[in-house]
């Protein structure tokens, strides 16, 4: 019975933490009930949301899956920002979200190849990269952003697989 209560308490704490994660983007969406006069760039919304997901991911304490899910869970807010703040048409919302998802996946994959540490320097560099991607989303053609993201994603996944292969080959047999 005690164990069940403990589990319940932990589950409730986890639920509360997760709801806290949604609080800032939810508050921004609710408080800014008015349509802005000038479109708010989607690249900026992406950089802010992904940076927030990264900072919230520090609380995941090394649980990689939970870290990754935080980025996926920010997707409804990104789609909302694209439609309501950037004034994008449905086709542009899909294109913007595809650019954001692939760029984020590429950056995470590249980071996983280089380091597994989550220090201040790594987080700072990651957020700076997100800002650069956000800028690229605004300044460059979607084909360049999508193409680069796919290239980096495939190359980093290949490098990871090769490294794993080398490690397994180098492991003493028997």
């Amino acid at each position: 019975m005690k164990a069940t209560r403990g589990q319940m308490a932990r589950a409730l704490a986890e639920l509360g933490l997760r709801l806290l994660y949604f609080l800032p983007p939810m508050a921004a969406a609710a408080l800014l009930g008015v349509v802005p006069d000038r479109p708010f760039p989607l690249g900026a919304s992406f950089a802010l949301l992904a940076a927030w997901a990264r900072l919230a991911g520090l609380a995941a304490k090394g649980r990689r899956l939970e870290e990754l899910m935080l980025y996926a869970e920010a997707l409804p807010f990104l789609a909302f920002a694209a439609s309501a703040w950037a004034g994008a048409s449905p086709a542009l919302v899909i294109q913007g979200c595809a650019e954001a998802c692939l760029s984020c996946a590429a950056l995470l994959s590249l980071e996983g190849l280089v380091t597994r540490k989550r220090g201040v320097a790594e987080t700072g560099l990651f957020i700076a990269s997100l800002a650069a991607i956000g800028l690229a989303m605004e300044a460059l053609s979607p084909a360049y952003v999508l193409g680069t993201a796919i290239l980096v994603l495939v190359a980093s996944l290949y490098a990871k697989a090769s490294r794993r292969g080398f490690r397994e080959a180098a492991r003493p047999r028997g």
């Binding site: 589950a11 009930g33 008015v34 349509v35 006069d37 048409s89």
Partner: protein, 352 residues
Amino acid sequence: MSKTPIRPRAAAPATVLALSLIFGMALARPLAAVPGEARARLEGGPFLPYRINAATLKDPSGLIGEMRLEGRSWDGSRLPLFEGRNAASSSSAELHFYLDEDIRSLVLTAADASGQVSIELDLSAEENRQGALGPAELAERDRMRALSIPPRLAAPISPEGGSLVLEASDILAAARLASSRFFAPQRPPIAITVLAISALGLALASLLRRGGPRLRGAGIGLGIALALAGAIVAAAMAAPGPWLFRAAFPPAAQGSQVSGVLERRLELRPGYTLVSFAPGEAESSPAPLQKWPALLFIGFSTSGAAGIPLAELGPEGSLMRLSPAPMVSSRGGSMTLRSGSFTTGWIVNEGD
């Protein structure tokens, strides 16, 4: 296995052929545009500032595809003024566009059967060629210049929803009050509800991932599915749609101090929302409000491909001063107004 040796000499003719093909293709495009340019002509005019102008693009070889009209202002910046699409080949197409005194020249780009068509028209040179402007036109331009557009730095965070009360303020101050406190498109609240529901669902799905391997897999699947569904529904619900605001100041007081209460009325029209501010029953009793008041202060915002019907701005021939200059879009035979940012301005109707 023997390998065939590569002969550098054999590659030379192929390289020359490839280079000449590339050069020929690059040359063929501009050359193809020349006959089209000679045939296509823009009819209509004179194109005057502070009005919605109409023109006809005629091209006997048949217009196809996209058609765009850009305005070049005196500082060199470009403004999209019109865009339309010719679904089938037609020898003429109607264009409507807004002009003001900031626009110096027009550049029209279209396509016909023989290639790209480009027409440039210097408005200042055209006006000089036509001679001195008549006194009526000069007076109208002076009047429109005097109707400055009050600055609106940003949309009010919490717009006022009630009546617009004017207490002996001049007309520009009344316009500033209307634009900065009352003209604000609202986002549909259902989009926020969708976000809240998806956030709660995603938080509950994260709890599933704490269980065994089967629950973990279900939690991941549910989380991703909820994120995707939430994104689709939130984007669909959050699109604000076009909003048009119209304030008709009390007719008796125009040009001097305006006083009175303008009642707010919200109407959901097909494709857009109209919010009008006009004197109520008691206010309008001395001089009943016309269908199109003599002076209107308007504001509108559009998003995506949706726009405000052009006819909603005012009767044909109205004088108007809008900032920033909106773009007229022609889709499926109907003309709509679109703008990348919130547009405000004056509509002067002397016809009624």
